[in-house]
């Protein structure tokens, strides 16, 4: 793969925040020329597709400041430093939905924006949901509505763009595929 690799000549740290770090890198291209790359470092995240015993999806509605709008998504959250993704997934599910899951199955992991960011999302399917009597509660700066909907209702929300993000679109398509393969 040497004919594709870009070597770092110089790295400048532009910003170090609570969540992201931003770098500008001067790189040497495979043909010897140079270029600049703008890179966002992110701790990574988990997302959970929670399915109730009735086969409904548990979704969260929340405000996304980056988009200046409300979105409906599957529950998700950032990895804490050094934390196993499965541990994060169980915690986020409990905090955001008040459900604990008897079964938590890893479905897929993927980079969300490899052109400029290193965010890796680990996606799980949560089943055997049990409502917690004492829910852990949300972070201080989190405000969400909980929804329990059928797959058909979720797909309709994709069409109206209430659902509008890659991980949730992937999760809905996964359920459609699982259902199609069962027939």
């Amino acid at each position: 793969m040497d004919h594709l690799i870009e070597k770092t000549i110089r790295q400048e740290k532009i910003f170090s925040g609570k969540v992201i770090q931003v770098y500008v890198e001067d790189v040497q291209l495979p043909n010897g020329n140079t270029s600049k790359r703008e890179i966002v470092k992110h701790p990574g995240a988990v997302a959970i597709l929670p399915l109730t015993n009735e086969g409904k999806l548990v979704l969260v509605r929340q405000y996304r400041k980056a988009l200046e709008r409300v979105l409906v998504e599957i529950p998700a959250g950032k990895l804490e430093k050094g934390e196993e993704p499965l541990v994060t997934a169980r915690r986020e599910l409990e905090e955001e939905t008040g459900y604990s899951a008897q079964s938590m199955r890893h479905l897929i992991s993927f980079y969300t924006s490899p052109g400029f960011a290193d965010e890796l999302i680990h996606l799980y399917v949560a089943e055997g949901l049990v409502k917690l009597e004492e829910a852990a509660g949300l972070d201080d700066d989190e405000f969400v509505d909980l929804l329990e909907v059928t797959l058909e209702e979720a797909v309709a929300m994709l069409e109206t763009k209430e659902i509008y993000d890659a991980k949730t679109a992937y999760a809905l398509q996964y359920l459609q595929l699982a259902r199609a393969l069962k027939k």
Copy 2:
């Protein structure tokens, strides 16, 4: 949705690059408290799932500096300012693969990382591919290998993590679903 909305109190521009802009915003939360949001603005992008007349997928292998590794992905590229996504999709397909498409169908659009970035990807399926005699060629700083693979081969690359990004994973699952529904 007022009980979810975060109001901007102060916005600070941290970085303005060739591709991204980075902001830190002080926000007022629904309960009146304040918090900070780190936000990456991105011009948006297109991605294309090109299917040859033999039913093979045309993929590109390229180095992703943000990940410091090579990935195999469906062709993709950033929107130019004011450009219609369909125009970008036709251009990127020709530049990256040397194919022109007789049919270009919008499949879905989604935000890739709504937690911190506003990147919106528009995904198209390209069919009726015709090899161009004079290909437009890549940008000066782009180096890619072209691959033509079956769906089974692509799914195997997902398992080995040569394919490892959300838009390509979505596109492969879309083909699996289309095939399952045909049976």
